[in-house]
Symmetry: C2
């Protein structure tokens, strides 16, 4: 539990065609593999769904069950996704700590901009709101992909915080877009798109920092935690970790009992006290859905989230995974890879 989930390995290959599905199924058949548990997000659920359908067509006795896992928290049909609680616990902590740095310096570097992951949905950026226990605490402004960026209103908001508390910490989602739908910051060049054809983002924080310096005439800083935010196992959420194990175990149980073509979901069975059980959703329903931050959880001015969101998110960050520290640093396992 104290090694990052990345110990399992991952991939970024985009399964594109019926030939790809056929090849996957052929490999399964060759090694008499009858159970396929695919851990991931929308794209992964789509792959599991297609392979499952092809197996059924060819009469191969086979079960495919999806296991949700994405820090983006954007899967349909599930209350939330394993990985999300940990990333927001850690990024909220970073925001809180960086906010104190800004506060300490109070006559310089009074603006700090932190970039959160999240291509289309603002769940991760929104989660940093948990760090704000009172008006003075960071973050003061959150920029979400769900809200078209309005430069004028944004600069006015930055000025408001500089006038009232003499500092301003902004969390900006990498997926924040202009009113015309273009990203405020896109990576150009030969590697401007990933294997899935998605535009590579990065630079939103730097953009916002430069904008503030130009418009407000104060020195600003920015931070881009990038992949660091999603790998912080030294401060992972225990609730999140336990739920990750829960959906994995349930997937095995369901597959053995005959279920196929489904993804395990998390169902919030009680809000107070928080408790979660599992459910099932069709892989195709998950594959074709993308869950955005609901409009009613965004404040009217578009720069923060509501109490309702905080009530939703707070249970997900509770508890800390016990770190396995050796000689001052975490100790991770490395699995031996046996390719066949």
């Amino acid at each position: 539990m104290s090694s990052p989930a990345s110990a399992l390995g991952s991939c970024r290959y985009k399964v594109r065609s019926q030939d790809d599905y056929k090849k996957i199924l052929d490999v399964f058949k060759k090694h008499n593999i009858r159970y396929f548990f695919y851990i991931g997000g929308n794209d992964s659920m789509d792959t599991a769904d297609q392979v499952n359908k092809l197996a059924a067509q060819t009469g191969y006795a086979f079960r495919a069950v999806g296991v949700p896992k994405t820090i983006d928290n954007d899967l349909a049909c599930t209350d939330h996704c394993p990985g999300y609680g940990s990333v927001i616990k850690y990024l909220a902590t970073m925001t809180m700590e960086a906010g104190r740095d800004t506060e300490a310096l109070y006559t310089a570097d009074t603006v700090n901009v932190i970039e959160a992951m999240g291509r289309n949905a603002g769940w991760i950026a929104a989660g940093t709101a948990l760090a704000r226990r009172n008006e003075e605490d960071a973050p003061h402004i959150i920029l979400l992909p769900e809200v078209p960026f309005n430069e004028e209103k944004f600069i006015a908001k930055v000025r408001y915080y500089l006038d009232t508390i003499q500092r301003c910490v902004v969390v900006v989602s990498e997926g924040t877009k202009n009113a015309d739908g273009t990203y405020i910051a896109e990576q150009k060049g030969a590697f401007g798109k990933d294997a899935f054809g998605h535009t590579q983002l990065g630079g939103a924080a730097n953009y916002i920092k430069s904008l503030i310096e130009a418009q407000v005439q104060v020195k600003a800083r920015f931070a881009m935690p990038s992949t660091i935010q999603r790998t912080g196992i030294h401060f992972a959420s225990k609730t999140d970790s336990q739920e990750a194990f829960m959906v994995g175990a349930e997937a095995v149980k369901q597959a053995v009992s005959g279920v196929s073509g489904k993804m395990i979901t998390l169902v919030r069975s009680s809000a107070h006290p928080y408790s979660c059980t599992t459910g099932l959703a069709d892989l195709s329903d998950v594959a074709n859905g993308e869950k955005f931050l609901p409009k009613e959880w965004i404040t009217e001015d578009g720069f923060f989230v509501t109490q309702e969101f905080l009530k939703y998110a707070r249970p997900l960050i509770q508890g800390e995974v016990e770190a396995n520290i050796v000689d001052g640093l975490p100790r991770f396992v490395r699995f031996k890879k046996n390719y066949i």
Copy 2:
């Protein structure tokens, strides 16, 4: 102990002239302040030294004692500086975790570049070497300000790691310089210099990422933890924290016993087992010195540090400060500021 040191507040005002020193001393006289403990780095020790000398000239009974504190670890006369152990413990952990992300993806995003603070000295970047317990572990290459950047040799080294272990994590110090002494990345524009006239850095990691993409033709990522690396109290070094208290307490003790014009130093009284006591250095000796990473602690190829450095740094990251976690996130104090 579980609130960041920034709770005390800080400043970035450059004390420039005799008028400034006179004003500081006038304020001290007005409020009958007889003890001046100045916590900081070279610039702070210079200020304490000048105010102390002026007090002596004017016959004001007064004691000024410097307390070392800089994550940069670049102060002369002391074995190391409070703050350094915690920043490298945290940044090494980030590097280790981000390295596992790169490793998990092994067919994509195989290069990751992490930017470390450190204007002129490579102590912070060097400290991430502690994360590398074996050949496979990140970081694989460390770029230091002490070693002029050689693009050709660097690209060859990146290729070597991509060929042998199919990935490469680079830690680059923000202060890395070209052979002609210019920084590989400088901030331009109206806020390109800070209050001290120092060039503002930032962008070294982005520069190295773009260079690798252009020269090696692989997709790379970069992370810029910025101030986050120096505020990570949730994973601070207990050894570092205890030594910070030790130098503070010793400063008070020394001042009460009549010492003035000195900075408290840390003296490594034993290497195995590690133990540290305190000593004294003239403020002027600290003010005018800047301690770089010794050449003999840098490997011959210039891209890593030696075992001797690791032996020096490892004791400084031992133990974890107990975090005060409330509702899933750290809880920090906020002192009430009473301006007079």
